[in-house]
Symmetry: C2
Subunit: 222 residues, 2 copies
Amino acid sequence: MLSYTEENYLKALLKLSFQNEDRPEAGTNEMAAYLGVKPATATDMLKKLKEKDLVTYKKYGKILLTDIGRKNGIAILRKHRLWETFLYEKLDFSWDEVHEVAEQLEHIQSAKLVDKLEEFLNFPEFDPHGDPIPKANGDMPAIAKTLLAELNAGQNCKVAAVKDTSTLFLRYLEKLKITIGTKIKVLEVIAFDGSLNIQIENEEPRSVSMKFAESLFINQLP
Amino acid sequence: MLSYTEENYLKALLKLSFQNEDRPEAGTNEMAAYLGVKPATATDMLKKLKEKDLVTYKKYGKILLTDIGRKNGIAILRKHRLWETFLYEKLDFSWDEVHEVAEQLEHIQSAKLVDKLEEFLNFPEFDPHGDPIPKANGDMPAIAKTLLAELNAGQNCKVAAVKDTSTLFLRYLEKLKITIGTKIKVLEVIAFDGSLNIQIENEEPRSVSMKFAESLFINQLP
DNA sequence: TAATAAAGTTAGATTAACCTAACAAATATA
DNA sequence: TATATTTGTTAGGTTAATCTAACTTTATTA
Ligand SMILES: [Mn+2]
Ligand SMILES: [Mn+2]
Ligand SMILES: [Mn+2]
Ligand SMILES: [Mn+2]
């Protein structure tokens, strides 16, 4: 059985591996920063995880999940996202509130609980931020990876997921009435600063910054 | 903020205080046994809880919750019982499965979560074992304290709560189709061994042992 | 009441997860 | 390529929660 902390390291490594898709390994400092601990602490834990065959690790080398480490990491991620969905759908939490509580709930140990929860939620595919929820067998729907910023004038899309999950951004999205699934049309791309004029559903056109457009994953529409 | 372990000590002390109503204090060994640790461990923790003003404690003396300790204990108990209710009502857990998972869930820190959960469950008064669920302000419905064993031949009652929450007992109750709210009529009390002949709802009469009758709390019916 | 038993404490270790400070290796850059 | 910078490790400590073994206090009982 894994400790709370060990689980967090595995999940962190998994998420870092999603971030650099072509280079799924991470460094000690990178992990330490991600987890909010000092590098010395991470080194200790990585040695321990290596002993348990959850990561491959060599002195001064990069860190990679083993198959079993990955399996465990995905199980935590699954729980995290199912709980976020529960909080959002059933308990009326807003999407900027769910993460913090799910960070605790993801460590509850009960196979039955996860599976029953998934059933109760009707086997959701995506969490409130649009991130895919792994199935019990580890399968996971593909992650959207096109950014709004990559579109050209005239193109249509649907919001698939948020890249930035900060409260500041999520609150701003709410203000703009943007949520997962919202349709957006790009009216104009301003070459000067990369900002966009967009139409959100049938609202009045408005301008958003390049930073904004680089924080939203979308699925293109024909 | 209290640690997982500190919370468990407070809840334990609270429950022990319910058990001996006229003598709401506990001893070191009693607490240690309840929590499954050695007395030396409990002594250390009690000193720490005393420092934090959560219990009154003097060397070789009995232990009592302070007002603030009690308030905290009740908050944990509230979470425990709300989660048990959630698991039972929404996720189809059986009543002998809920406790173990609730033991973990009760330590999740989020005031909003508890209150939203309570609302989602429609402000339940009792958990799946018939135990009262404290309100957000600390109020708690009265605990049933009459045992089935205290009734005489001819008297009617409704099952209010289980005193013994062991899997063995709960499974046996299920087999007998007894749950919280089930009506029972005492047909005969056997003086020899304290066993009872009872009628469960409209089933065929049957005999139960004294041990059985001392494990069920009931509310008497006219 | 004196001896025995039960209840509770203390001292000293252990383990997990963290830290700082000093050092070593690998990488980037002048 | 030599030096500086970045990255990562080691040694030695701390804190929370646990333990065992030895000891002390309180309660029971002969
Ligand atoms: Mn999250
Ligand atoms: Mn976590
Ligand atoms: Mn319980
Ligand atoms: Mn607990």
